[in-house]
Point group: C2
Chain length 523, copies 2
């Protein structure tokens, strides 16, 4: 007999049950050659939820995961909610101290980890009194921990209908390109809105495969797991990114959708094995993290004639997507061309505006901070009421990103508010300087930062990676900049670099790292 | 300075403000040759909301509208919510007594009406003590009423941020094909989910025009007004349906999207002026209310080579869409063909199942009642806690429709539970008998009902409209049925009819009307 209580609110546990009911034998997750159907996943999640209850976990308590992408993490995106618990997605790149701080902050009862992070997890857990249960996903669990499969073994059914609506579904952490990582509380309703609203913008179709190549502990890849239950999509999950393996998986599973940064697309097209794999199943290819260079788009359009490219701008605190440049702008000619530097229009359910430092709205064309409001704004930062109030002041989420709207309503990102350089009282947006330098043929990559300067407060400084075989010195590049941007924006100094730029987990250049050598005490 | 309080929940007032901010000069509504931009509409709605507050209306009080479609009704879908009031959408086909009953049920403070319904509105208001203010949309208002434009005249700003989330946004009434009309409370969150989830299924694009030809007081056309603020769509509103005017408007405004019943598509293709109008802008054409006959699809595909046809199944209590047969099934050949009798797959955010009279789930292929749960289930029936509890028993909304799932997960509707005929203890679904009769070449339209029978309890009876110039008597048709369906399903009697079938406002055959002559006391 069907049962339960009236369910007018969204519960991701229900959505998982829906798809299992609708497509019981369809593949839900493939990981390391192992495929689980929606029935498998739903049954396993129900068992895990019941096991958590059996261990005495109370509604609102938390389950944390530390490790590479895995099908276990997929399950931990749903199972805790089915027992009214909250998921904590930890960053496997954190230091031990950072792990301990996150465990102190979120106070989980359970920590699940993979074999590669067992040592780190056990060490962090030893310093974290909230933790009562430890599980390792694969391989022999260390002393004090149990195999994750023990959670699944016994058939069970959670006693509650699960959390939903405005209850916290999951805690993701901010990328931490500036300052500490903050826990971001995302509700079921937050995530439903993104999961319903974002896929049509990228033109994702129902019942197709998607490949997850980025770390699921970050919002951008993680949110695609939640939209998979609405798209009835098959998620092919890579533990870590590997180009050849990605090509093989796309070909083997006829993968439809993928998200990657433009640099990765560049590496893909350059890869010696590129032409050996059948990647023709790819439809919506979402680029993001930075604009798509026109030359790259040209090559990509040729290499993927059946694909639909888009470029997105998202943020953890906004349950992912804020704006997207849709496929019709991914052309090289005609009236829609020439917009590739922008992130496109805000998603229709959000109000996105540009404001000055006093939160006064700025007219179109002027650069200011990007603020947004709507149903995907996070519930708040965990345990940080003051930072929450500050971020949400005036009723708007303050992204910390600078940007401007053009006359067509397309949004262009100008850089991070915190990356803005103030030199001699003038504001300099690093992006503008980076664009000027990138236009020099000898420059392959560039990052512009502000460094302490006794006279100007801050001075504009560029870190440059030259193109293969190219030759240019600092004077050449500075002279080039003088012809393109105002004098106060021209770099006072240039550092040449041969190793790659330091990147965050979200593949953003870590300017804090680049700035460190210039700070007197290494602060 | 931007302001307000944190807005993590959806408010349709905010969504209207968003689109006005994003596309200030874009057309929002065209009605009787008059076009209002999103700025116009937003400003007018804000003024109307402030005027309602100025009149002393308190949060949770109601504003009702009685009349044909209009741009005033468009505004009344948003303005009340901006003052935390609720909209009541009255059916202009109601008798005076029905209007009075609805006003007693909803107890609005304000009644807005158009000139064509002024007499009915004033008479109903005279019997409705809750009403303190009356407004007529156009023309000279009768004594005791004021011009609707008076509400708009003064610049104002409501003192609140408006209702949102689980607050009631609007009360629509059920079609009332069986029994009385019930008020259905729909929340902002209900409507957001449909407005985000339904358009991609029909392949609606952003920033295009839609034409509203059905009565907006019904959920199916009404819900498209709410999705318009997310699609940034231009709504071209017809006061009443007129085929020639529709063709002119589609051509003039390059209309992209339209919803109509298959019969209307048939009339359109048959219309002598059809080829004289440029209807090539039509993209997504949503049919609904009944399956699309293959012969009609064949003609429609030829007449609209650029269109994408779909067929939807919706319901007032489900904030509209429950399932949809998507464009790829609207073909005449190939593996996707042959599904036109179905309404397709449930929308991905709903759990839809088939149950028997005891609410036990039935296996695929078996006919039973269609039940659904998910975030678009209504808050409840207004003032009818027992009927609400009955409809939502066990946590599922009971549609009252019978249907079955095929092996591909496509849903086919078999008729209304209340239309089911029980004859000699056997269940007969009228649709099955109707399909058998329709297969006879002499039959143009048919409706099968149960009529009282002293021996069998009920007897199967068919009302038949013959095709033009066709000739067949009852014996011919009964003999035809005997070769196709079981004996107990074969009609015991046939009534031939020359006038059209009586239709509800939602263009469904009113079987209650057809049954009346057979009931002894005309009950």
């Amino acid at each position: 007999m069907i049962g339960g209580t009236a369910r007018m609110i969204v519960r991701f546990g229900d959505l998982l049950a829906n798809v299992a009911h609708r497509h019981p034998e369809a593949p839900a997750v493939t990981f390391l050659g192992r495929t689980r159907t929606w029935t498998d996943i739903h049954t396993r999640c129900r068992n895990i939820a019941a096991a958590f209850e059996g261990m005495g976990l109370e509604p609102g308590e938390r389950v944390a995961y530390l490790g590479f992408n895995s099908d276990a993490l997929f399950e931990l995106f749903f199972a805790p909610a089915m027992a009214r618990l909250e998921t904590v997605a930890m960053n496997f790149r954190w230091s031990l101290q950072e792990c301990i701080a996150a465990l102190e902050d979120t106070a989980p009862r359970v920590l699940v980890f993979d074999a590669a992070h067992a040592e780190q997890a056990m060490a962090a857990a030893a310093a974290s009194p909230s933790i009562t249960h430890l599980f390792q996903t694969e391989g022999a669990a260390p002393m004090g921990a149990e195999p994750f499969e023990d959670l699944v073994r016994r058939d069970g059914c959670p006693s509650t209908e699960g959390s939903g609506g405005d209850d916290t579904l999951i805690i993701f952490f901010t990328g931490g390109t500036t300052g500490h990582s903050k826990g971001v509380m995302i509700s079921h309703a937050n995530m439903l809105t993104n999961a319903l609203g974002a896929p049509p913008i990228m033109r994702n179709q129902l019942e197709r495969a998607q490949i997850i190549i980025g770390p699921m502990f970050h919002m951008a890849p993680g949110s695609r797991i939640f939209s998979a239950v609405l798209l009835n999509a098959h998620s092919v999950i890579m533990p870590k990114f590997d180009m050849v393996e990605m090509m093989q998986l796309v070909a083997r599973h006829r993968v439809h959708a993928v998200t990657m940064v433009p640099t990765m697309m560049h590496m893909l097209l350059e890869h010696p094995e590129f032409s050996r794999h059948d990647l023709s199943s790819l439809g919506p290819i979402m680029l993001g993290g930075s604009p798509t260079p026109p030359a790259l788009l040209e090559r990509a359009l040729e290499a993927f004639p059946g694909a639909l490219f888009s470029n997105g701008y998202g943020m953890t605190e906004m349950s992912n997507l804020i704006a997207a440049l849709t496929p019709e702008y991914h052309v090289l000619e005609g009236p829609m061309a020439g917009k590739l530097q922008s992130v496109g229009r805000p998603v229709p359910y959000l109000d996105v505006r540009i404001v000055d430092a006093d939160d006064h709205e700025l007219p179109r064309g002027e650069i200011g901070e990007i603020v947004a409001r709507g149903p995907t704004v996070m519930k708040g930062y965990l345990n940080r009421p003051e930072e929450t109030a500050e971020a949400l002041r005036g009723g708007w989420f303050h992204t910390g990103d600078m940007g401007w709207f053009d006359q067509d309503g397309l949004l262009t990102i100008s850089g991070r508010l915190k990356d803005m350089i103030i030199t001699g009282g003038e504001n300099v947006y690093p992006t503008e300087v980076e664009d000027a330098l990138t236009a020099h043929q000898a420059v392959s990559q560039v990052a512009v930062i502000g460094v302490p300067d006794p006279k100007w407060g801050e001075a504009v400084h560029a870190i440059v990676i030259l193109a293969d075989g190219a030759d240019a010195n600092a004077d050449d590049l500075i002279a080039h900049c003088r012809t393109r941007i105002a004098g106060y924006k021209v770099p006072r100094g240039i550092t040449f670099r041969t190793e790659p730029m330091p990147l965050s987990g979200a593949n953003k250049v870590l300017k804090t790292e680049l700035r460190k050598p210039f700070l007197e005490d290494g602060d």
